[in-house]
């Protein structure tokens, strides 16, 4: 058999039927649903007189529009309460497992799915959310779909898809101390551009990627869509297997071993060919922060807002204007009003540990509102058990309930117009965190440093 890429192997394993021209009917192993639109998907299915094909392979949890206020209930944000209720009743009628707020397993879909063993290496995973590619970090064939496709998946447990071209991004060497997967992702996007991955599935490989822990790989794959790609994947290895073992819905005992021996075959063959290949030196990566309104507008925290941007592109000029920044000025030192640590990019336990390391024994600067929003109920409980909550609250951060919160700002929690927020989320789009809100993307350590300093600051040299 000819050499195959990791993506070829994952794709082939899910083809139910081929239609020609690279179109196929792919089996969906796990369908994730969330509150922003999940209810209407169930309604649409019922309207067509159809049933859920495999309710045992579908999982629902409210994350986008739930309040993160301590002590929150379903209706704390009333519009969210309606969406939450629609999802809950749809899931219950359909016999779909629903992880409600406050329960173990509740959380941002892309945090709770791998954490619960719902997403596993080698599985196909879909969700009406572009960051479904996060799950590629454990070697899953995971991709975002639209609402119509979600109705299709509920009704048929399949999706019609055209096989994309493939790109490999190899990162060789090791990231320097204090430089994280988030910084690597922003570095890649700033070098390649936000559309570089459009039409591709991206495999991240190389010694720097192999050296990442599993949660960092989830972060890296989370940002594949900000490169334009629907898929980001990292080959599962022994570290992945150890991370997956024992998760609530992961296979157990002999079944796990059978799965593990299959998972060990999930890697790109030595002579497989990619349509595009890019190689980066991990030593070139510094802590990154964005200055504009696309994730590609990123510079090292020690760098300057590019002078060239203003002259070159009207888009960049509009971005600078929206962000209230001047070309050529150092990005560090820019005063900040808000800090948000959370989102499916960076709300896992390791992220909170990295931020807590910076926050420990220090204090949030006067005038800065700083939030920590754990990605899931399990992350929250684990962080509380190891004392991270105390570290954050002692330092003046607010410790909140899990959800997407101020990443997408669908839960009524917004950065006020004109205010500047350093955020560990994945999008700095115009109005993403609220109309007029100015977002700088960064790693948890860099965000925590900004909260302490009251301005954009290098976490490695914080006094």
């Amino acid at each position: 058999m000819s050499a195959q890429t990791l993506f070829d192997k994952l794709w082939t394993a899910h083809v139910v039927r081929e239609f020609g021209d690279d179109w196929a009917l792919l089996h969906v192993d796990r369908h994730l649903m969330h509150d922003l639109g999940g209810g209407p998907v169930f309604v649409e299915l019922a309207k067509r007189g159809l049933k859920v094909h495999n309710p045992e392979l579908t999982f629902a949890t409210p994350d986008h529009a739930v309040a993160s206020t301590p002590g929150r209930v379903s209706t704390t944000f009333p519009l969210g309460g309606k969406l939450h209720e629609a999802l809950r009743s749809g899931a219950q009628t359909a016999g779909v497992q629903f992880f409600d707020i406050g329960e173990p397993g509740h959380g941002i879909v892309h945090v709770m799915a791998p954490e619960q063993g719902i997403a596993l290496p080698g599985l196909s995973v879909v969700c009406t959310d572009s960051h479904t590619c996060t799950n590629g970090g454990i070697g899953a064939l995971a991709f975002g779909i639209g609402t119509s496709e979600s109705v299709h998946v509920l009704a048929t447990q399949t999706v019609r898809l055209k096989k994309p071209a493939q790109m490999r991004i190899r990162c060789e060497g090791r990231l320097a101390p204090g430089v994280t997967a988030k910084d690597l992702a922003l570095h890649l996007i700033s070098r390649l551009g936000a559309a570089a991955g459009t039409g591709y599935a991206i495999e991240f490989a190389g010694t720097a990627v192999e050296a990442l822990d599993v949660e960092e790989r989830l972060t890296l794959c989370n940002l594949a869509v900000e490169l334009g790609a629907r898929f980001g994947i990292v080959a599962p290895d022994e570290r992945t297997l150890a991370w997956v073992r024992g998760r609530p819905k992961a296979p157990q005992g002999e079944t796990f071993e059978a799965a593990a021996s299959y998972w060990r075959t999930l890697h790109t063959d030595a002579d497989a060919v990619f349509a595009r290949e890019e190689v980066f030196d991990a030593r070139d990566v510094a802590p990154m922060v964005t200055w504009g309104t696309s994730p590609q507008d990123a510079v090292p925290v020690t760098g300057r807002v590019p002078a060239a941007a203003a002259a070159a592109a009207p888009d960049a000029q509009a971005g600078l204007e929206y962000m209230g920044l001047h070309a050529g000025t150092p990005i560090a030192g820019t005063p900040v009003d808000w800090v948000f640590i959370g989102s499916c990019a960076n709300s896992r336990l390791s992220d909170l540990r990295a931020a807590a390391l910076v926050a420990r024994g220090r204090h949030v600067a006067p005038g800065v509102t700083a939030w920590v929003v754990p990605g899931s109920e399990s992350v929250k409980r684990a962080a509380e058990a190891e004392g991270l909550r105390q570290v954050f609250t002692d330092a003046g951060f607010q410790w909140r309930e899990p959800g997407c919160s101020m990443c997408v700002a669908a839960n009524g929690e917004q950065v006020p117009p004109g205010k500047r927020c350093v955020s560990t989320s994945n999008r700095n789009f115009v109005g993403r965190q609220g109309p007029g809100a100015r977002t700088h993307l960064a790693s948890p350590a860099t965000a925590a440093a900004a909260a302490i300093a009251g301005r954009i600051a290098d976490p490695r040299t914080l006094p």
Partner: protein, 211 residues
């Protein structure tokens, strides 16, 4: 899905790259409104000034383009969030065709699910069409012929995936099509349970309903 055969009308140039789906429709709108109510809110971040009034400088606020059925966009149009509401909002404004050098992948798929025709053309071609479109004279996009006809009579061919073209022309319902294959799906599933027993889960125990 509404079938698409041809559309005639002004083509509005929106020459900026990376117009994301958050900008096409704000999350608060899609959370609060039904899909047929979104039209007035399409691209509001660009159409409106901070005080809520229309920005007369924005192309879709200018008379010949207010109800343009064709949008000429920059690279990576519809990047970002998977929200299908971005397509519903554009269609709610009467836009039936977007021509751009490239599209966000999920947005591109979502277009076909709803009968909005996304056409990929090289940047130079899109720019040339934009120049010809500036006065607001009508273009015709014909999916049957796979051509764009300019007001001066120039005919620009475009390529589109054969399967998607047919589905659009006929307004095919993908779910009904796939359900015709349900026996193969079930057979595949049956066989897969032997190959990948670890991939399969039993049905969760029913949960008590919460008031």
């Amino acid at each position: 899905m509404s079938p698409f055969t041809r559309v005639t009308g002004p083509a509005a140039p929106l020459p900026r790259d990376n117009v994301d789906t958050d900008v096409i429709i704000r999350v608060e709108r899609l959370a609060a409104l039904d899909r047929d109510q979104l039209g007035p809110y399409a691209l509001e971040a660009l159409r409106l000034r901070p005080d809520g009034s229309e920005d007369p400088a924005f192309i879709l606020n200018q008379p010949p383009f207010r109800s343009a059925p064709i949008l000429l966009a920059g690279a990576n149009f519809g990047c970002g969030s998977s929200r299908e509401a971005a397509v519903w909002a554009l269609m709610g404004r009467g836009i039936r065709c977007v021509i751009a050098p490239s599209f966000g992948d999920i947005f591109f798929s979502n277009c076909f699910q709803n009968g909005l025709l996304p056409i990929r053309l090289p940047l130079g071609r899109v720019q040339a069409i934009a120049t010809a479109a500036a006065a607001g004279a009508p273009f015709t996009v014909d999916l049957q012929q796979c051509t764009i006809s300019s007001p001066s009579g120039e005919v620009i061919p475009f390529e589109i995936d054969a399967q998607k073209r047919e589905a659009l022309l006929l307004g095919l319902d993908e779910i009904q099509l796939t359900l015709r294959d349900d026996e193969s799906i079930r057979a595949w599933q049956h066989e897969d349970q032997d190959h990948r027993p670890w991939a399969w889960l039993s049905h969760p125990a029913p949960r008590p309903s919460r008031a």
